[in-house]
């Protein structure tokens, strides 16, 4: 495998297409890593007691991408052994049970990617300019 293929990758995607967990896990797989941790956020059938059929997401796209890149930078500072990071967020309508967000992170050993995934999704929710339609 060439050096380029195996050098650390920050893979960021905002898309109106359906997300795929196989795509995410494949994109962060690498020979030197024994661990891939993932988080998938899906549309729930209820929110604050109300029935939900689907959610609709919009983003401030260029800033969302740059905030996602900042998260990658923070992850690499905190967990230097992290190899590849993939963050995908779906935009537009996301029906119940389908994924709005997927995070996949690989590392040689499991603790780093497990901790980094949690940091990633917590930080994404706090800093990336994306909104569910109909909220405040």
């Amino acid at each position: 495998m060439s050096e380029d293929v195996d050098s650390p990758r920050d893979l960021i995607k905002l898309t109106h297409e359906k997300l795929s967990s196989d795509d995410v896990s494949t994109s962060v797989t690498c020979p030197s890593c024994g661990a891939i941790s993932m988080f998938i956020g899906t549309t729930r059938d209820s929110f604050e007691g109300k029935t939900v059929i689907q959610l609709e997401y919009e983003a401030y796209i260029p800033m969302a991408e740059s905030e996602m890149k900042k998260i990658c930078t923070s992850i690499r500072a905190k967990w230097p052994t992290v190899r590849h990071i993939c963050i995908q967020h779906r935009l537009g309508v996301v029906p119940v049970t389908e994924a709005s967000v997927m995070v996949g992170i690989s590392s040689p050993h499991r603790v780093d990617s497990l901790e980094a995934v949690r940091f990633c999704i917590d930080t994404l929710k706090a800093t990336v300019p994306i909104w569910k339609k109909g909220g405040l």
């Binding site: 919009e58 983003a59 260029p62 967000v101 999704i121 929710k125 300019p129 909104w131 339609k133």
Partner: protein, 97 residues
């Protein structure tokens, strides 16, 4: 050549793009607009200029932050410089993920 002190003089005006998302777009009825604003002002003054254009935005006042050139700024006494073509965004509470 003009030094930066001259460019940022108090009475200069810049023409910037203001972007509205989610509740902000709902309240203003627009997704974006071009606005003439003082080239140097505090972020709270910047917000009040936008509220003046769209009084309904006031319901967001306690919850909003702004982004100037795609970087967050809190509403406070911090001064920002605006240049022609800059992007200002009204950022209601995030709900991605």
């Amino acid at each position: 050549m003009f030094g930066s002190a001259v460019l940022q003089a108090p009475f200069m005006i810049s023409e910037v793009s203001v972007l509205y998302f989610a509740k902000g777009a709902e309240l203003t009825g627009v997704k974006s607009e071009t606005v003439k604003l003082p080239s140097e002002l505090t972020t709270i003054q910047l917000w009040l200029e936008l509220e003046k254009r769209h009084p309904k935005l006031c319901v967001l006042r306690e919850h909003v932050v702004l982004a100037v050139r795609q970087e967050y700024v809190d509403l406070c006494d911090q001064t920002v410089s605006l240049h022609d073509g800059d992007e200002v965004a009204v950022i209601p509470p995030l709900s991605g993920g």
